[in-house]
């Protein structure tokens, strides 16, 4: 595929040239953290980050999304559905997060059900990634079949080679997008060598820290194993791990109505919440925090594999970095492996 380069100082101008034609989503800095947000100007883009606190799944699967609005007047029932999606660019995301899109795709693009809300946004989007030169200690992408420069889910990959980013077209869509764009120049052989070196050194810095092989076969037999009693003990039962996770995708659908008008809204759900799978009667198949932690692990490493032949984890480390009590998923998996 084709390579180009873009100078770091030209990034803001490049982004500005997109705004208007595209909705642009990118990392921004706020306080001490980087967040993934829709931006209104190229100057907001913040690329000197390890990873954003929230994941880019929000670009396709927002936390709260109106599916349609309804109202009743003298003429009868009126439905309003959201209009066609505008073209989008998801810019500067990490390769691990881009991989999460290829895990979410089969969920929302099933044989039986096509989720138009997700799929329309996906189809209208160019995904531009930024390779990880210095993966943090909480990252374990190489343990889950990923790589700091993985191209899975990307149209274009940028690699930081000092003053410039080397841009590699991954898909035809990406190649066409880069063609004639403001700020992009031809890559020299030297640029290519620098890119190779950066990739090598980052890959060498990571050692696989979690054993995934065999988990999906082992987990179903451990449903009633006492290990869950100790694994979950310090868990607070909050929604951080699932809400920040790029692959978690459980949702609920609610009506927010007042008198004769209302909206049907899809919202994120979390298996860590008490209300998750609670039935109208009050009965709950997962009544305790232990059952819900087990659900999270089972879903990612067993059920999802059965359904989609992939592990629903990209090793981004958000759940490790942000867990208030340092309940480290690598430790949980090590515990399970040790049985």
């Amino acid at each position: 595929m084709k390579h180009k380069i873009i100078k770091k100082k030209d990034i803001a101008g490049f982004i500005n040239s997109l705004i208007g034609e595209y909705r642009v989503f990118a990392p921004v800095q706020k306080g001490r953290q980087a967040f993934f947000r829709e931006i209104g100007s190229g100057s907001e883009v913040f690329l000197d980050y390890q990873n954003t606190t929230n994941s880019p799944k929000e670009a396709f699967f927002p936390q709260s999304e109106r599916l349609f609005a309804y109202g009743l007047d003298k003429k009868g029932l009126k439905l309003t559905v959201p209009s066609e999606e505008k073209k989008r660019v998801v810019f500067g995301i990490r390769p691990c997060d881009a991989r999460s899109f290829s895990m979410l795709d089969p969920v929302f693009d099933g044989e039986k059900y096509k989720d138009v809300y997700y799929l329309n946004k996906r189809a209208a989007t160019i995904v531009i990634g930024l390779g990880c030169n210095k993966p943090p200690a909480t990252c374990f992408c190489t343990s889950v079949a990923g790589n700091p420069f993985s191209t899975d889910g990307l149209d274009l990959l940028l690699v930081d080679i000092g003053e410039e980013y080397a841009a590699e077209a991954i898909t035809d869509k990406g190649e066409r997008f880069m063609e004639g764009r403001e700020g992009f120049g031809e890559a020299s052989p030297d640029n290519m060598v620098s890119m190779g070196k950066v990739k090598e050194s980052a890959e060498a810095s990571m050692s696989p820290s979690v054993k995934i092989d065999g988990l999906s076969e082992k987990l179903p037999g451990l449903f009633d194993h006492p290990i869950w009693d100790s694994l979950h003990e310090k868990c607070l039962g909050c929604g951080i791990c699932t809400y920040l996770c790029p692959t978690c995708h459980c949702f609920d659908i609610i009506d927010e109505a007042a008198e004769s008008t209302g909206e049907r809204v899809r919202i994120w759900d979390s298996c860590q919440f008490k209300l998750f799978t609670q039935e109208t009667s009050g009965a709950n198949p997962r009544p305790a925090a232990k059952d819900r932690l087990k659900q999270r692990i089972m879903h990612k490493f067993s059920y999802f594999r059965d359904n989609y032949d992939q592990t629903a984890c990209v090793g981004c480390g958000r759940c490790i970095l942000h867990c208030p009590v340092n309940l480290d998923i690598r430790r949980i998996l090590a515990g399970i492996n040790s049985i």
Partner: protein
């Protein structure tokens, strides 16, 4: 100079003795975390496991949160100043009987705000954080940076005036010096701003809230059987991300904390989005102190002001709001 190096061993010794003599079934304390600058809650049932216990400037969680509704008989709990204050309130609120706990009280010199410390070496990979008497040394590939502990404490620790356990069964180490924070209080500073500016600040802060409820779940006092945000009949607030609903959650939680909050900072530390949650709580703390002369968690005898009535309770705020 006080010697703090023996604290972890003293904790292990105390825990071992309690388990060995059958005085407790479980000890809740801290063990080394899986990443630099972190310790993590741990649950010890076997005397041979007490070696896992540790104590350092990274023991930031409030362990009182784990004590309610436990199936075990007696429980040993490693508790710093704010953990003990939370225990005192939980006892008064009849959530955990005093007899159920054996408090291993540890004087606290403040906990490190890891997010701020990490920012000091932005872009570099911290492999190890070493604690000395007054510093934290961050080490990584080809770099080493020393930080003054005092400058990198959590805000709640910086302004803490009760670092020593107010109640304990087994004291560890020597008490640390207690002093009221210098300078104007955080509340006075915030109050001096125009109302519109204050509202803007709080609105901006909660605009990042993702309603993960980690603040609630980390808090020792958020123990309602059914939190009002989880109720569906009646449904008190909307489930979608709406700024008014999110604000209602934070305000109701704050009001529910009046006269109970011990300013351990657990809510703020838990927040993944870096929201200044303490701002919602501190004014209520200071009002309760000013109106009723009450500080939460300081004594078992003193009744919590909002659960009782005294004839000389101030009425002014009701008559002349």
């Amino acid at each position: 100079m006080q010697d703090f190096s023996k604290v972890p061993d003293d904790i292990r010794e105390a825990a071992k003795k309690l388990l060995e003599e059958g005085k407790v079934d479980l000890v809740i304390g801290f063990e080394a975390g899986t990443v630099p600058l972190r310790s993590t809650p741990c649950f010890i049932r076997n005397k041979d496991d007490v070696k896992r216990l540790t104590w350092n400037a990274f023991c930031e969680n409030n362990l009182a949160r784990y004590l309610r509704k436990r199936p075990e008989g007696k429980i040993g709990i490693v508790a710093k100043g704010c953990d003990v204050r939370a225990l005192v309130e939980l006892i008064k609120e009849k959530q955990v009987p005093r007899e159920k706990m054996v408090i291993i009280g540890v004087p606290c010199r403040g906990m490190i705000d890891r997010k701020r410390a990490e920012r000091e070496v932005e872009g570099l990979q911290i492999r190890e954080a070493v604690e000395t008497e007054d510093r934290i040394i961050l080490k990584g590939d080809g770099f080493e940076k020393a930080l003054n502990k005092d400058e990198f404490l959590h805000q709640s620790c910086k302004v803490c005036s009760h670092p020593n356990p107010a109640m304990y069964d087994i004291p560890i180490g020597e008490p640390v010096k207690e002093e009221a924070p210098k300078g104007s209080s955080e509340v006075a500073e915030f109050e001096s701003k125009p109302a519109a500016e204050r509202w803007q600040y709080l609105s901006d802060e909660i605009s990042r809230c993702i309603r993960c409820y980690a603040c609630r779940d980390a808090c020792p006092f958020c123990y309602c059987e059914e939190c009002f945000v989880d109720s569906s009949q009646p449904q008190w607030i909307g489930k979608s991300i709406n700024a008014s609903d999110t604000m209602i959650f934070h305000l109701v939680r704050a009001f529910h904390m009046a006269g109970r909050c011990v300013d351990c900072g657990a809510c703020q530390r838990a927040c993944p989005m870096g929201i200044d949650i303490r701002k919602f709580l501190k004014k209520l703390d200071s009002d309760v102190k000013e109106l009723y002369g009450y500080e939460a968690g300081m004594s078992l005898e003193e009744l919590a002001p909002l659960t009782t009535f005294k004839e000389d309770d101030p009425q002014g705020f009701m008559i002349e709001p």
